[in-house]
Amino acid sequence: MRLEYFLLIDRIAELRLDERTIRADATVPDTSTIFEGHFPGYPLMPGVLLIETMNQASGWLLIALTKFTRMPFFAAVKEAKLRSFVTHGQKLSVSASMKHEGSGYAMTSAEIRHDGKVVCNADLTFRMVEFPSPDFRASMEKVAAEIQFPMEALGHG
């Protein structure tokens, strides 16, 4: 995780287009300016960033399922449950599955596990729109490469 850059997924570990699921790895950094305030001497991963982490895993799933033709923008979160504290240095497994693919929107269910235990989960809604510009898409492709997004898998979906 690079919290200050809002890049919360480290690596796509598994993408199953047939099952419409994704799993990603994310390690909470040992140090971050965020932990200086949240909280002094008691570093906790902010819940909003855990939700954003689930968003990003879901987003990569949706980008994969639409073969990089649509950009998902976060629109709503429901039933978010922050079940355990998440702190610095923890290795997280983030998974998401397609719940409903509508016209111009999609809904996913996502969760984060640490040591096999669910630490948070939520149902998420995204608006699916065309990439705002070629540069925007190129920047997403660059991030995709950084997190080992299996671009080659899209050709077989």
Partner: protein, 95 residues
């Protein structure tokens, strides 16, 4: 009144916390009931699930934005209900 309308009206009532009596076939979802585009996604989701269809929201939005259709054609509930019935019929029609 058609069962399609009743199902849609109930979905809107429950999803947007609008009194069921205020929802009529003449109601415009946006102008009369005050439903915004985000709330309408929840309604579309519930309609998709209830009827086993996929409301073509992208197409409708594009047509309205292009001036090829009015919002009344899709978002006055009697018209929305008619569209849903068409989609249901198209789904069950032989290929």
């Amino acid at each position: 009144m058609s069962s399609t309308f009743d199902t849609v009206a109930n979905i809107i009532s429950e999803t947007c916390d609008i009194e069921r009596e205020k929802i009529t076939p003449e109601s415009h979802a946006i102008d009369d009931l005050g439903i915004d585009s985000l709330d309408f996604l929840d309604i579309a989701f519930a309609i998709d699930k209830a009827f086993g269809i996929k409301l073509p929201l992208e197409q409708w939005t594009q047509e309205v934005n292009d001036g090829k259709a009015s919002t009344e054609q899709y978002f006055v509930l009697k018209n929305l209900t008619a569209r849903i019935d068409e989609l249901i019929a198209a789904k069950s029609a032989p290929a």
